[in-house]
Each structure stands twice: as structure tokens, then as C-alpha cells.
């Protein structure tokens, strides 16, 4: 709860600091705010508490995911330097919107009441609609915002409809009440309940860009300014999956049979569409969009497994995925700026020679995303897969996932090949700030550390 309050206050402070002449203070200040929130959040560990008539509960699950999301924001913010250099007039608003959206994200991992879930999703989404269109002078950015908003609004309707139907069937918004009603009725209360449940699944699937509700993702990711794409594919996705799992575990565990077939179909489709779709992309950013779809698939696998290992594997996977994705987008941002907005693979040609640090960080990130051992991504996948195989009947799902992971290596390594094995078109060295370099090194080391000692995080929950 302290983190929600602090973030709201800090967001407002940020807005007013933005009126100062120099924008240079904004980045360190925001980082400081986030660091404070990260620290304050940790105090709630093992001190579960409920607020607002039990509409929110800050338990270890919430603290862990809040920690990861705040950390992810903290890590990606330093790469907003070019906004500072351009003296973007709306810099303060960007930072504030990020802080506000984090409030929504935290609500999504700590709700006990479906209204809170809905409000959380909306706080998060509305901030993202604005940020998607924050590059006002670029048509692609406007397009992204409008598309995201239109489709997002549509699926918000679907989600809300689902919530309402569930309320109609059970008479409550509280997860515990819903679970109690479902439990005494064999998990299927009536047709209205099932319909509501399916609509909920569909609504959240859209938010985490799971196929076939992923159509918005490539266009929106491509158009959105890279920094916010990075936020979208990490924090927004993590919050979505965490909310999804919490919803299913706390309210619909008894109704497993009603949502399981749908979810498994969505999962397989997401894995296939995400990976196959990424193969033919020539635009690196668009590839990352498809890749983020595919990672939603891996995360959903943990949900499909639905056992005592699910939450911990989602947590670990989220963290490993967030670290790698932040690096990928950060490097992309530097490279495309240097190459006049070129976001194709070709833009990375020869980066290994001109900027060894960027290239190395990118290589580790790509290894992690494709699940090569000794990076965090390997254990992310391993944990998800072991969670799934606890039910031996789901072995086939693991086969599909591993095959798709093999496909993944193909397109992730394209960029590695471009960096190290192609001659540089533009031999100029890309200039990066020392703080951003430090952050890149930090994330890279962290990724490898988690690949060597995953026990640091894997047993938190």
C-alpha cells in the first residue's frame, strides 16, 4: 500500500518539477523515487495486510511482483536520456505517467476484488494509450496510440462484461466469495458464470497480447516510442500475467475444467503464432513484438500447469524476460537513433566492432530470450517446463514449446550474426552515457548471475 501512495505522490511531484527550467533533475529524481518505492515495498514482505474492506491485499505475491515491476521501470528509465538531450517539453509528463501506470500495475497484482482489477487495468492502460502516442510528430506513433486505444477499449468492454456476468451469477465482486460460490456448485454455477469466465479469460488474454488477440501488438509496438514499447512489453505484460494467475488461482480454481481447454488452446496458438510470426520479420522491433507474443505463451504455460510451482515460475520467467527485453529495446534505441531511425536487422551490422559493450549486452539478452544456458532465460524456461510436466499428460505441450523455442533461436541469433559477422555500414561509434553503460553492464551481469544461481529468486514464493 505504501508503494501505491508513494508512487501517486511522486507522480504529482514530478509533474510540478517539470515546470523548472532545467529538465536534467527529472531523471535522477524519478530514479530516486523508484528506488524509494522499491525499498518501501520490501517492508511488506511477510507482513500481509488488507486494505479498503479487503479490496486490496498486499501479500508476498503482490510484493514480489511489485518489486519486479518497479525494478524493471527503474532499469529502463536510464535509457530515456535522449529525451533529456532533445529537451522534450513533455518529459515530466512521461515520467509521471509511468509512475501512475505503475500504480495500476500494483493494483493488478494485489486486488482481491474484481473492481480493483478493472480499475488497475484501466489506470495502466490509459497511461499507456497516451505514452504510445507520445511522439506527437510521428504518424506511426499516432497510429499506434489510436489503434491501441480503439482495440483496448473494445476488450475493456469484453472484460467488463465478463466481470458483470460473474457478478450476476455469484452476487459478488470478491474473489473469495466467487470461489466459495463456485466451490459449492462444482465449479460451474450456470451458463452465465461460464460465459463470464470465458470473457474474462479473453479480456485478459488481449491485455497480455496472447493469440488470437495479439493483432494489435506488432503495429502498436512498432509505432510506440521505443522506451515505452520496452515498458509495455515488460511491466504491462508481467502485471497482466500476474493478475491472470491470481484471478484463476483465487477465484476460479474450482472451475478449472471450464477454462482449461480454452486457455490451453490460446497458449498453443500464442506460442506458434508468436514464434512463426517472428521468423520472417526484417524489422527488429516488429520481431521483438512477435517475440513478446511468444513469451506471453511461455508465461501462459505456467498458468496452464496450474500447480504449486506456477507462481514461482511466472515470477522467475517475468524477471528474466524483463531483464533481457529491456536490454534489447535499449540497444535498439541507441542503434536506430544512430542510423536515422533504421530499425531493421541491417542497422545492427558490425555493431560488435564499433560498440563491443552494446553488442555484448545484446548477445547476452538474445541468449537469455532464446533460453541458452547460463543465462536467466534458460532457467525461466526450465522452471516453466518443469511446472508443466508435473502433469505427464501435458508432455506434448512441452514438446511444442521446446520446438518453438528452437525456432526462437533462429530469429534471435539473426541479430547476433548481424552484429558480429556483417561488416559495419556506418563505422561511427555510438555514444552512450556512462550511467546508461553502467546500467547495461548491471543488467547483463544480473542476467548471467541468475543463470548461474537462479535459487536467488526461484524460491521466493
Amino acid at each position: 500500500m505504501t508503494s501505491i501512495i508513494l508512487l501517486s505522490i511522486f507522480g504529482i511531484i514530478n509533474l510540478f518539477v517539470g515546470f523548472m527550467k532545467s529538465k536534467r533533475i527529472l531523471l535522477p529524481l524519478s530514479l530516486l523515487f523508484l528506488a524509494v518505492v522499491f525499498g518501501a515495498n520490501l517492508f511488506s514482505w511477510n507482513e500481509a495486510q488488507s486494505y479498503f474492506n479487503h479490496m486490496l491485499t498486499i501479500d508476498n505475491y503482490a510484493v514480489a511482483f511489485t518489486g519486479i515491476m518497479v525494478l524493471a521501470t527503474l532499469l529502463l528509465l536510464p535509457f530515456s536520456q535522449h529525451y533529456i538531450e532533445e529537451a522534450n517539453e513533455n518529459l515530466a509528463e512521461f515520467y509521471s505517467l509511468l509512475l501512475f501506470s505503475l500504480v495500476g500495475a500494483i493494483m493488478m497484482v494485489s486486488y482481491e476484488n474484481m473492481l480493483m482489477l478493472f480499475i488497475g487495468i484501466e489506470i495502466l492502460s490509459i497511461a499507456m494509450y497516451v505514452l504510445a502516442g507520445s511522439d506527437k510528430r510521428r504518424l506511426r506513433s499516432n497510429e499506434a496510440a489510436l489503434k491501441y486505444f480503439l482495440m483496448g477499449a473494445f476488450f475493456t468492454g469484453v472484460l467488463l462484461f465478463g466481470i458483470v456476468l460473474i457478478y450476476g451469477a455469484t452476487g459478488s465482486f470478491y474473489l473469495t466469495d466467487i470461489a466459495a460460490t463456485a466451490a459449492v456448485n462444482d465449479g460451474t454455477v450456470n451458463a452465465m458464470f461460464t460465459l463470464g469466465l470465458l470473457l474474462l479469460v479473453i479480456g485478459i488474454s488481449f491485455k497480455i497480447s496472447a493469440a488470437p488477440f495479439h493483432f494489435w501488438a506488432p503495429d502498436v509496438y512498432e509505432g510506440t516510442p521505443t522506451l515505452f514499447t520496452s515498458y509495455m512489453s515488460t511491466v504491462v505484460k508481467i502485471a497482466g500475467v500476474a493478475a491472470f494467475y491470481k484471478l484463476m488461482a483465487a477465484a476460479f480454481a474450482a472451475s478449472y475444467a471450464a477454462w482449461f481447454p480454452t486457455l490451453i488452446a490460446i497458449t498453443v496458438l500464442t506460442l506458434v503464432v508468436g514464434n512463426i510470426g517472428a521468423v520472417v520479420q526484417t524489422n527488429f522491433k516488429r520481431m521483438l513484438a512477435y517475440s513478446s507474443v511468444s513469451h506471453a505463451g511461455y508465461l501462459l504455460m505456467a498458468l496452464v500447469a496450474f500447480n504449486e510451482r506456477s507462481d514461482a515460475s511466472i515470477l522467475f520467467y517475468s524477471l528474466s524476460y524483463a531483464l533481457a527485453t529491456i536490454v534489447a529495446f535499449a540497444v535498439l534505441q541507441y542503434v536506430s537513433e544512430q542510423r536515422n531511425g533504421d530499425e531493421t536487422y541491417a542497422a545492427f551490422n558490425g555493431l560488435g566492432k564499433t560498440n563491443p559493450l552494446l553488442a555484448f549486452a545484446m548477445t547476452v539478452a538474445m541468449c537469455s530470450l532464446s533460453g541458452i544456458p547460463l543465462t536467466a532465460g534458460f532457467f525461466g524456461k526450465l522452471f516453466v517446463f518443469t511446472a508443466v510436466v508435473q502433469d505427464a499428460r501435458l508432455m506434448w505441450l512441452v514438446v511444442v514449446a521446446v520446438l518453438m523455442a528452437a525456432v526462437g533461436i533462429y530469429y534471435y541469433f539473426k541479430v547476433v550474426i548481424a552484429m558480429y559477422m556483417q561488416p559495419a555500414a556506418d563505422a561511427a561509434k555510438i555514444r552512450i552515457g556512462s550511467f546508461a553503460s553502467f546500467m547495461l553492464i548491471f543488467i547483463t551481469v544480473f542476467t548471467i548471475l541468475l543463470g548461474i544461481a537462479p535459487a536467488l529468486v526461484s524460491d521466493l514464493l
Binding site: 504529482i12 510540478f16 515546470f19 451469477a169 455469484t170 452476487g171 466469495d177 460460490t181 456448485n185 450456470n190
Partner: protein, 127 residues
């Protein structure tokens, strides 16, 4: 409240809704078709021209309107809606006690901060 979940509905219970739905739809469709069929149709250049209260129409219908207009409008809606919260609060002011008062002070403080932000940002300047 005890949720009313044990009551069993049968499809025929929904029949009144269906009938009402059909009636509503039917009315609209019928009216549209009938007026179309029985109305007189005369076509000429004058008839087809858009009617602008007798003033001759010039230019494009899609003239851009300054975004400031929308900004002001949306701000009006925003603050207008927030005021609604004050009515129920005022009615129950006594029973809320000091807590309620402080909460509203906080709320209004945030609102004022927003208003101040809007002013500083120069959104209400019109030129």
C-alpha cells in the same frame, strides 16, 4: 446479500426479453421501410444541395477546429464530474466527522493541484 444462484432458469423465461427486443427492432425497421416506400421522391440539383438555413454553402465541411477547444471542453467535464462527489459528501457531512472532512480536503487538494498544473501548463490560455 445472499447470491441468488440456486434459482434455475429455463430458456422460456427469457421469452419476454426476446419479444421486447424483436418489437423494438421491428418498430425501427418497419418505420424506416414504410417512410421510404410511401414518401414522395423528387430529385433536382436544388433538392440535392445541402441546406444551410438558406445560406449558400462554401468550402469543406471538415474544417479543423483548434485543439484548445477540446482541451477546455475536456477539462470542464473533468472538474464538473469531480464536483458530483461533493453532493453525497455534503449530505452526510455530519456523520463522517473529522475523518470525512480530512479525506475531502485531501481530495480537493489533489484536485487543486491538478487545476494549478493546468494553469501553469497554459492550457487555458486562448491564443
Amino acid at each position: 446479500m445472499e447470491p441468488a444462484v440456486n434459482q434455475q432458469y429455463v430458456p422460456s423465461d427469457y421469452l419476454p426479453i426476446l419479444i421486447q427486443f424483436l418489437a423494438a427492432l421491428g418498430f425501427v425497421v418497419t418505420t424506416l421501410i414504410v417512410t421510404h416506400l410511401i414518401g414522395p421522391k423528387r430529385k433536382s440539383a436544388v433538392k440535392d444541395a445541402p441546406w444551410e438555413s438558406g445560406i449558400e454553402s462554401v468550402g469543406d465541411a471538415r474544417t479543423p477546429i483548434s485543439y484548445k477547444y477540446f482541451m477546455t471542453a475536456i477539462l470542464f467535464v473533468l472538474f464538473d464530474v469531480e464536483v458530483i462527489f461533493m453532493y453525497p459528501w455534503a449530505v452526510n457531512f455530519r456523520s463522517f466527522g473529522l475523518d470525512g472532512f480530512l479525506q475531502m480536503v485531501l481530495f480537493m487538494g489533489l484536485l487543486l493541484a491538478g487545476f494549478f498544473y493546468v494553469l501553469k501548463k497554459g492550457i487555458l490560455k486562448w491564443d
